[in-house]
């Protein structure tokens, strides 16, 4: 884990291992999720991997009725909207993710500030496998 480059490829690999990882600047301590290989505060390049606890709060959301092809393939459509959101992690950084366990047809029941817990959605097999970062109300 230590040797992996601080980039999106590693970030995705970690997600497939049920880990939400960020990079922390060893010089100034700033945390980046998804990881950056260069610190944009002090421009140091010494990073270390940090695993997030996976707890956060909903900062913004949308219920999508007309999605991209890969979401339509998953069975989402106008009658079955899915929810995407911005999640503020306990560690301070924010991530964009799918929001599970809420009703996309009832947006008025989805509240900003709702405490959430991470979930990893594994999809596809072999070369086509991918993991979607998700959260659900805790």
């Amino acid at each position: 884990m230590e040797g992996r480059p601080f980039n999106d490829i590693s970030y995705e690999q970690f997600l497939s291992e049920d880990k939400l990882m960020g990079s922390r600047c060893q010089k100034c301590g700033v945390l980046f999720v998804p990881p950056r290989s260069i610190c944009i505060k002090c421009y140091g390049s010494e990073m270390e991997w940090v695993e997030m606890k996976g707890k956060g709060k909903l900062a913004a959301f949308t219920c999508i009725a007309i999605g991209p092809p890969f979401m339509i393939k998953e069975g989402y459509d106008r009658k079955h909207p899915y929810v995407c959101g911005v999640v503020g992690l306990e560690e301070g950084a924010r991530v964009v993710a799918r929001i599970e366990g809420v009703d996309g047809n009832k947006p008025e029941t989805i509240k900003i500030g709702t405490p959430l817990e991470v979930e990893f959605l594994h999809s596809g097999e072999g070369e086509n496998s991918t993991t979607f970062l998700a959260f659900r109300p805790s």
Binding site: D8, V33, P34, A59, A60, F61, T62, C63, I64, A65, I66, G67, P68, P69, F70, M71, I72, R78, P81, Y82, C84, G85, V86, A93, R94, V95, V96, A97, R98, G104, P107, I112, G113, F132, L133
Partner: protein, 421 residues
């Protein structure tokens, strides 16, 4: 107060034209640009010999993907008989031609050229909605795309953050939509030049003719609340919160200020230009504004020595209804959290104190992405010269107008300020 940036020499707009915006199965990029160019030529009061154009800057975003041709600079240059003069394509997603304009201004301000054509073109409607969605997603942050966000989704999410902080609601967004349609009704170039009321009447008429149950909408908001008339796209963005898929082209002619009067007695001077870049949704410090727009605005205000209150009218990038509210706050026209109230009070209407999107905006005029930035300038050109016809704003001594563009989900933002002297 003027800032540290300055233009090497003055630049003026002396002509502006656009094609009709819409969905055209029989018009391609070349045809559309020719239409815009032809209109532009007719607006140069004292005439222009196209052979005097020194260079072309052309904004385009998706033609690589949709038309499988990316090299549009020379194609349009050849179309207009401008070869071998240089042609450069600019890409800034939905702000592509705003960047073309900026590059054109720099090229003249540097002293290198005297006469520059800037414009944009986009050809989108021949593709399926899925393909267009996928193509436009090329301008979003990769993290957003992976999470399943669409463009309306990103703006929908920002709307929920804005609602939660300032107590606004979907009802307030409807005010933007109703106003845009009322303005576009007076714009023959608009893709939807009908008011919401017109659309309601058409639907009622149709239902009557077919012998179907007649909808009982009492006003525009009841129509917009009706999920059959206005279905959700990405909550809280509904169909009537979103700009359409469009084809179109637009262009403006820039010349050095010292020769502007050779072309017209009524040029518009480029007094402010600004551009900023922005981060993806997850990395934004705040979900209720665009840092890049604020930066672009500051740059343009500093260059011009003008303040937000000095800008009398503006075309802003209302790709989604919430965006118009965020932009009029980011440009300093209204305080953060006050934009939706200003719209509700009618301040941004054609007859308001700060008319916004008199053309109907992207929502109704249409949004052929590469053509939008200079398309906005065409509207300001008409308004400042008193040539906007039925939709001419009734402001006395109208001198200063602005256009604001936003590319992607806030990745590229610009502000341009024009002045009539």
């Amino acid at each position: 107060m003027r800032g540290r940036r300055k233009l090497g020499r003055g630049v003026a707009v002396v002509g502006a034209g656009m094609s009709k915006f819409g969905m055209f199965s029989d018009k391609d990029s070349k045809y559309l640009f020719a239409e815009a160019f032809h209109e532009m030529l007719s607006t140069v009061d004292k005439g222009i010999d196209p052979k005097d154009i020194d260079a072309l800057y052309l904004g385009n975003f998706t033609n690589d993907f949709f038309v499988h041709q990316g090299h549009w600079g020379p194609i349009i240059s050849d179309l207009l008989g401008l070869t071998p003069k240089p042609a450069t394509r600019t890409e800034g997603a939905c702000a592509s031609s705003a960047l073309a304009f900026r590059e054109g201004v720099f090229a003249i301000a540097s002293g290198f050229y005297d006469v520059v054509l800037v414009g944009g073109v986009e050809e989108m409607s021949k593709r399926s909605t899925e393909e267009v969605t996928q193509g436009l997603a090329m301008a979003a942050s990769p993290y957003e795309v992976k999470a399943g966000f669409t463009f309306p989704g990103v703006f929908g999410a920002m709307a929920t953050a804005y609602f939660a902080r300032y107590g606004a609601s979907r009802e307030h967004l409807m005010n933007v939509t109703i106003k845009s349609h009322n303005n576009a009704r007076l714009n023959p170039k608009a893709q939807f030049n009908v008011s919401i009321r017109d659309i309601m009447n058409q639907r009622i008429e149709k239902a009557k003719n077919k012998g179907e149950p007649v909808p009982a909408w009492r006003d525009e908001k009841e129509f917009l609340r009706d999920p059959r008339a206005n279905p959700v796209v990405a909550w809280p963005m509904h169909l009537y919160d979103c700009c359409p898929i469009s084809d179109g082209a637009s262009c403006v002619l820039l010349v050095a200020e010292k020769i502007a009067k050779d072309f017209t007695d009524n040029p518009l001077y480029v007094v402010g230009i600004g551009q900023g870049s922005g981060k993806g949704l997850h990395a934004k410090e705040d979900l209720t504004y665009f840092e890049a727009t604020r930066y672009a605005a500051q740059e343009a205000y500093e260059l011009s020595g003008l303040k937000p209150k000095d800008v009398q009218i503006a075309e802003v990038h209302d790709c989604f209804s919430i965006a118009e509210i965020l932009h009029i706050e980011d440009l300093g026209f209204f305080k953060p959290g006050e934009g939706y109230k200003a719209v509700e009070e009618g301040l941004t209407r054609l007859d308001g104190s700060k008319p916004i999107n008199t053309s109907g905006g992207l929502k109704c005029k249409g949004h052929p992405v590469g053509a939008t930035g200079t398309g906005q300038l065409v509207e300001i050109w008409k308004q400042l010269r008193g040539e906007a016809g039925e939709r001419q704003v009734p402001i006395k001594d109208l001198r200063v107008g602005a256009t604001q563009s936003l590319g992607g989900t806030g990745g590229t933002c610009t502000l341009t300020i024009l002045e009539r002297r």
